[in-house]
Symmetry: C3
Subunit: 261 residues, 3 copies
């Protein structure tokens, strides 16, 4: 299947919508990326909140604009809390996004992610190995790293989108975003983004936020990918991974005012 | 009730005391802000330690200079460990501070915070919605964001201070610090501080540290607020939220040597 | 016993090996330093992964290149997961490193660390107070801070190395690395490294990574210490603790290309 290149203007439009609507994003994410995820959402004008107790998570996902489920540091109690949050989100009509970190070889997260795919996620965001493993087509990558390219995973992403009803974003050097019928491609970014922890996980939080925006969800999710690729490109110029992080957040902070090139 | 403006010299005095006494602050705080909280305390010359097991937390709060309880990512096991730490702190005479993050609508933390208020905290630091909810006067804000101004919450803060015996700091564009009789106001800061996660939570850790200092606790807590507002003002100049964080920590690092304007 | 000064060229050699072999480091570490630890490993070209569920941790440590056990924010469930990971690592031949944070006065971690020392760690990295406490020669320091110098702890480190079979690194103003017979000393670094949370914990992750490299393990562990001291020295120049962190990661990122002075 062919992919259409996303309009270069979309990142500025999505950043504008995020700033304008300021979605409250309930993040149930892994221990490693919480600060960066929160700061990415804040820089974009969205509002993060991390609530993780099973009882409270169910209460909170019902009033949040969107919910993120990221299984990076999954434990049994967290899986239980995430399940409660998803069920409550579904009852309340809160859209939720899944980041199936390192799904494949590890049992707890793999079983849990397969269960979650059946629970009507609005979006799924992963790297090539994760999307292929979730679609049942491979065993996953090397830890959190991918061993495949996003293009190679595109058929798996399209299959997963049709099976789950979610928008599926398989991200890498080029990102592909699909609803199973239409497919968009997003260029840009920087290899430096793979030398900083949490850029993918934070993207998943922005994807969750974008599911709360008005308009075409496929475009909004692709726009979320474009926002991050654009900021990454700006921030990487002449920098190492340490100075990249502040520059990346600074770039996100002004993105709603950027004019598309 | 009237509030007196804190002397502009107080921030330098408090920073000097923190540097000189280097309080060992036992931080039981939320997952999102741990690194930033530790780095804020270290930049000021204080010494952070995060100990979270119920048994160890009770052992450690007895030997720490101060204890921080922040309920941002509360779970049942953490509530139990925090209770043990508070009880041990009280037996040992260690002052402790409460940050009632997002208290109001969420059941576990709301019940727990109401219990903690009865356990003789030395200080309570929250935003307007949190302080009003804790004083029983509203239902809390939108996640961790406040929907009220600090001035509107001042009567609730004063009531809470009298009921609990704690110094209560309700922070926002202007901070108010009260013991229920006297009230001090602190100006400064920057709106950018609301676009970076953890500035409020880290302030609560500095408030906890300030409760271990000699002298008037109301002044010390107000001084802790002034230290953070001053550093935020310096760091925000011409910066986005990403470059704000390193500049903020750099500003705190030299604050004990600053001469008040 | 005498210590030989490590060759100044070793840091560049170790950085080169890390870049070339890109070890996959399974980090079971404390809540406060996870992001920084991951970013340090990524900057050096290694690959971090945090997997903490007891079942998954056992699966993952068998396929990782190295495992890190850091007890900074230990709880009973985490101790159980760490035990499973170590047992699996030992069966699979995965080398693992121990960071006995604040061992001494706190019961859970002290009992657990004494148990771990019997389980054939490849390396142990701690400050003077921690190493002396683990060797049974003192009660530990003040929280995570040391109250002793590394030189004073050298006999304890040598004793611990002989008893455990591990390479022991006792770090401070000067680092000493010993296998119980040979001892190497590493100079450099900056006092600013003690005003930023996680430099010691991240070093332990690099030590774990270095245990997966080919060649003499004593030299590799000493090289890991030298890499961090060298980057710290570069990053500290004219900076405060906030701007130190990005500069430190930037320095690590180019270290494999540095020519030893």
């Amino acid at each position: 299947m062919q992919a259409d290149l996303l309009s270069p203007a979309q990142f500025a439009h999505t950043a504008h919508l995020l700033q304008q609507h300021s979605p409250l994003v309930h993040c149930m994410t892994n221990d490693v990326v919480q600060t960066f995820t929160a700061n990415v959402l804040l820089a974009l004008g969205a509002s993060p909140a991390m609530v993780i107790d099973a009882g409270e998570a169910g209460q909170f996902s019902a009033i949040a604009s969107a919910l993120l489920i990221n299984v990076g540091t999954l434990t049994q109690p967290r899986a239980q809390a995430m399940r409660a949050a998803v069920e409550s989100a579904n009852r309340a009509g809160t859209p939720w996004a899944l980041d199936p970190v390192a799904v494949g070889a590890l049992t707890l997260r793999s079983d849990f992610c397969r269960e979650l795919v059946q629970m009507a996620p609005a979006a799924i965001r992963g790297n090539a190995s994760e999307i292929m493993a979730l679609a049942g087509e491979s065993q996953g990558g090397r830890g959190v790293d991918t061993t495949d390219t996003a293009a190679a995973a595109l058929p798996a992403a399209q299959k997963l989108a049709r099976a789950s009803g979610a928008i599926v974003a398989v991200t890498g050097e080029v990102d592909y975003i699909t609803d199973g019928e239409r497919t968009l491609a997003v260029n840009g970014g920087s290899p430096l983004m793979t030398r900083v922890v949490g850029t993918g996980c934070a993207l998943s939080a922005v994807v969750a936020a974008s599911c709360a925006l008005p308009g075409d969800r496929l475009l909004n999710v692709a726009g979320a990918c474009a926002v991050m690729k654009r900021a990454g490109q700006i921030a990487a110029q002449g920098r190492g991974p340490g100075s990249f992080v502040p520059a990346f957040l600074d770039a996100l902070y002004v993105m709603h005012g950027e004019v598309a090139a």
